[in-house]
Symmetry: C2
Subunit: 466 residues, 2 copies
């Protein structure tokens, strides 16, 4: 499995104080020794101990490019399982490019996206679902996304799947042995135990399949569109929610969070608020004004908050609800009517208004006062309830990867055929075929069964340098 | 000098494959031992050897935050000269923030900008001009900027300055000894040698002062405004130059260069082209159309290329030249009239046109064909000539820092008074005072003389984590 080539890439982004360049492969030490000049010892890096750090300069002939630290790792005790070096240099773009250029001139190849992790997989340092978790872990922006990715990286469900698959492999070998003796009507594989095992696998797989929706919410966050005319209180509402539930440490300097403005983290789940500034829908029917733009925003959302004033004409609100409903009725979006400034009217008036807006099943209505901070908690609880975050507490293992979901669905279908076959005493050869299918799909997840195509698809979505 | 506090900060930017968190100060090992759990040895980090790397997990109580590598450095053999650890974690924003949060909970303080480098200076790991070079080195985007910063980091001129200052210190102590014996008219300090030393210092300081303009060009690049009506060939010209002299390795994947679009690197100097799209100046006098906007662009430039077609009416070109000249006559900007599409007219016509556009001293005119790639090299040579890049070859030490420039100017003024005093046999006490001033300004550059204000001004411009 070991690679012939030596690869290099930036492992960090942009120009911070430092940048890290990774090199991995059989020629790593020879290549780096050619450009690195240690400050103190005269030794070449090849003769230094692994897991040590060395100060010196990177040079192009006599010209010093930078003062750097190099960290040495030797096969198999490295991330990739190969000889590997990390060069920690000053974070200037010029230096980063120059060092990469020198490495490439000396025989290293620019790494493809995810190639370091792919090598880690190929060298048996992690299974395929763990390798996939690396990309998720790097992308994790919320506690929930982080939790799902880290659990997967540490072998969360793949260890269980692998153990059960091993047992199933044992059975299939017994059943295939039976086939060799098919004329003698022997039964090496204990059918009762097999039924138990199949039920166990089925149960795990169903749990994992059911966890996918939640896993996806945790991983990707929940896009929420707030629809409402200007001055209806959108910013006030956002500020109110942010004030109540500020993201943990988002104000530590140096950790840029520009890219996730207007994201709020509620109990570890990111709710991403989609800007819908400038959309009006009360005075005239929503159809007439900026429809296309509003609908595009709604299209991206999985929850739509229709923000109105409690004192608005219920008939107009109802018209807006009906207009939006056309967009949300496909079942992928949930609608919440939010009656703002509810403090300005009486409880009985409010009840009347709510009654004047008939809702379909699954649609919600809530009254708040963003300015007075009334019932903001009620709204955030509602949001959490809508993504079913409560079920997370009963769930120790969650999947979030569509590839796993599809493989588990296929495994589940084959499993049901196995169950059926076992109850109807299907001939062993047909039973074996169904079990083989289960084994195939289970193996796809953890990588016991892979094709170049699967690997290519997985790793092309990684960042370079990982 | 040693700091009481332990500081921490991100040393990398954004979310790449990995991120590096730095911790430095007396409690570094205690703090990191509290959250790091080694994967193999049971040892605490405090008992491990310096310059070694350890794999393990960062945990918040029982909850694993990430699998990380930690690199150990012990005082005084670290960047800061203090006990120091670098945590290399997965590049997720969540993980970065969480680890910083844990470090801060355990007693570390968030580092101020440049605080690691400031500590390196205070602990004698580098002088002040070297510390300043660190920020320049990180910001370096071109070979020229890199060269200036690295030379300064490696003590380029500060070693020379320090050595000469030492000698001058020796003289002043002798002169001050003379003052103690002033009634006896002795002369401990050999005036002839002192004159030689002063001349030597003067010569170095003048060289450095003269190198500042070039140093600034190398460090900051040269802003160039291309003024011209739409379709006069601006984009074609940019492409032509880019094609001729493409930046070295800017197309290695993973090194984002988005921020320097339309920058071209000629012989190590960055020429930054300022967008002036949509400005028209031919059919009507430039005064009448988009004046303010054009002038703002010109304001940012140090070279203005007025791009015209060779077949344009020379009188109109001349009107534009005059309008722009009002903006460029302050001596900080240089004007080049570029006659494009010169292939469409004859050589004699071209000569006539050039004669029809009388230029002031320092202004240049050149004819090219951007589309036919004719005389593009002529234009780039002209640009390099205008920034006097040729003189770089005769100059091994270059300054690029306005603080150094100002201190050198002041030192130079005091030096001239010393020279004068020596030639007119000024009383020793007044001579000593002038020499003290020279020592003061020389010491400001390398940091033998500093105030909190100077240090504060220098390090506030650093990035956090350096």
């Amino acid at each position: 499995m070991r690679s012939e080539s030596t690869i290099c890439a930036l492992a960090t982004q942009g120009n911070g104080a430092i940048a890290v360049i990774r090199i991995s492969g059989p020629d790593t030490f020879r290549i780096v020794d050619g450009i690195f000049h240690p400050a103190t010892t005269g030794k070449v890096l090849q003769n230094e101990s692994p897991n040590t750090i060395h100060f010196g300069t990177i040079q192009e002939h006599d010209k010093i490019i930078d003062e750097v630290l190099v960290s040495l790792f030797k096969a198999p005790n490295s991330y990739t399982g190969e000889d590997s070096i990390e060069i920690s240099c000053h974070g200037s773009l010029y230096i980063q490019q120059k060092i990469l250029e020198l490495l490439i001139s000396a025989g290293a190849q620019p790494a493809r996206p995810g190639e370091f992790t792919q090598r880690a997989f190929l060298n048996g340092k992690m299974d395929l679902s763990q390798a996939e978790a690396v990309a998720d872990l790097i992308a994790a922006e919320s506690e929930g996304a982080h939790r799902v990715a880290l659990q997967q990286l540490r072998g969360g469900f793949s260890n269980k799947l692998k153990a059960l698959r091993e047992q199933l492999l044992h059975f299939i070998s017994l059943i295939e042995l039976e086939l060799d003796f098919s004329e003698e009507d022997v039964e090496f594989a204990d059918r009762k135990q097999l039924v138990q095992l199949v039920e166990k696998i089925k149960s795990l797989i169903l749990d994992l399949i059911n966890s996918f929706q939640l896993g996806n919410v945790l991983k990707k966050g929940v896009p929420v569109a707030i629809i409402g005319r200007p001055n209806v209180g959108k910013s006030t509402l956002l500020n109110a929610i942010l004030n109540e539930e500020r993201a943990l440490v988002s104000d530590i300097e140096g950790t840029t969070r520009d890219s996730i403005e207007d994201t709020m983290n509620l109990e570890g789940v990111n709710f991403r608020f989609i800007d819908t500034a400038g959309i009006r829908e009360t005075a005239e029917p929503i159809e007439n004004l900026g429809i296309r733009r509003t609908y595009q925003k709604i299209e991206q959302a999985s929850i739509v908050l229709l923000l109105t004033e409690a004192s608005d004409d219920p008939a107009i609100i109802q018209r807006s609800v009906e207009a939006i409903r056309k967009q949300t009725s496909d079942g992928t979006k949930q609608l919440v009517v939010v009656l703002n400034k509810s403090d300005q009217i009486s409880e009985s008036q409010l009840q009347e208004i709510r009654n004047g807006i008939p809702l379909l099943q699954g649609e919600r209505i809530i009254s708040i006062s963003a300015e007075k901070r009334e019932n903001i908690n009620g709204l955030t609880d509602l949001l959490l309830d809508m993504v079913n975050i409560g079920s997370l507490k009963h769930q120790d293992v969650v999947i979030s990867n569509i590839r796993h979901y599809n493989a588990l669905k296929s495994a589940s279908e084959s499993l049901f055929r196995v169950s059926e076959g076992l109850s109807t005493t299907l001939p062993s050869d047909l039973l074996a075929q169904d079990i083989r299918e289960v084994l195939h799909y289970m193996g796809e997840i953890t990588g016991e069964v892979t094709t170049d195509e699967i690997l290519g698809n997985i790793f092309k979505n990684f960042c370079i340098g990982k």
